[in-house]
């Protein structure tokens, strides 16, 4: 899974969102090193929809701009994300065993 896929799925783990809300969520949680634009977000969403991990849903609010489309994570998408999180957690355990710590925690 690429960082873009992980971040988009994590953004959708909180519920259905439109593209710009996903973009803002990725910017919020990705930090300054992860700078995605709309092209990366919608390209990733398209691939995830083709894989069946994300689906488009009707807009929950009638007042929202009709050009806004909402996306939701499917059950397959959640399972894939959980598998990836498990893999990352195992990776972090290995890193800790080798006394490799994040730069920010070194002071």
């Amino acid at each position: 899974m690429t960082p873009a896929v992980v971040h988009v799925l994590l953004a959708l783990a909180g519920g259905e969102r439109h593209g710009y809300a996903i973009l803002k969520d990725v910017q919020l949680h990705g930090g300054s090193r992860l700078r995605f634009g709309p092209g990366t977000i919608y390209g990733t969403l398209q691939r995830l929809m083709e894989a069946g991990w994300v689906e488009e849903v009707a807009s929950p609010d009638a007042d929202v701009d009709q050009r806004r489309r909402y996306y939701r994570m499917t059950r397959d998408g959640r399972e894939a994300l959980e598998t990836e999180v498990e893999r990352l957690a195992a990776l972090i355990d290995v890193a800790r065993a080798h006394r490799i710590r994040p730069r920010a925690s070194r002071g």
């Binding site: 439109h18 593209g19 710009y20 995605f36 634009g37 092209g39 919608y42 701009d65 050009r67």
Partner: protein
């Protein structure tokens, strides 16, 4: 438009640049991308000139990357390369065979140049036909799966 305002010059430029993306991707997400750009542009404008410049840089890089990635995803560049290679191989093979066949090349310089132009045009046609054939062949299973 966001907020009912006329789109900014940046937004119009962004929308125009989206035409460099493959048609399918642009039709699917072009409106959303422009809307997102307009919102991001509005937020950056409120934050200052520097934020707008940073946004332009970020969006420009993102769009360039998206254009490259989306065209690669269509498979057209790879198909074009394969078609070009196959066409050149076909023409080379044909030239090898033709060398053993007696073809009368006109003595007149103008006619000889015309023969050259016809041969070049024939190669171009073979490349185009091969690209179309490979494109249809590569995308055939995906179409069948959609049905």
């Amino acid at each position: 438009m966001a907020g009912g305002h006329a789109p900014s010059f940046d937004a119009r430029l962004y929308r125009a640049a989206l035409h460099l993306c493959p048609g399918e991707f642009r039709r699917e997400h072009g409106d959303e991308m422009t809307l997102d750009f307009e919102e991001a542009r509005g937020e950056a404008a409120a934050a200052g000139v520097r934020a707008v410049a940073t946004l332009r840089l970020l969006m420009g890089v993102d769009l360039a990357r998206t254009i490259a990635v989306q065209w690669l995803r269509t498979g057209l560049p790879a198909i074009g390369c394969v078609a070009l290679f196959c066409s050149l191989a076909l023409v080379a093979g044909f030239a090898t065979v033709a060398r053993h066949i007696a073809i009368r090349i006109p003595d007149d310089t103008v006619d000889a140049e015309m023969v050259g132009v016809v041969l070049l045009a024939a190669v171009a046609v073979v490349v185009i036909v091969a690209t179309i054939v490979f494109n249809l062949w590569v995308h055939r299973p995906r179409r069948a799966a959609r049905r």
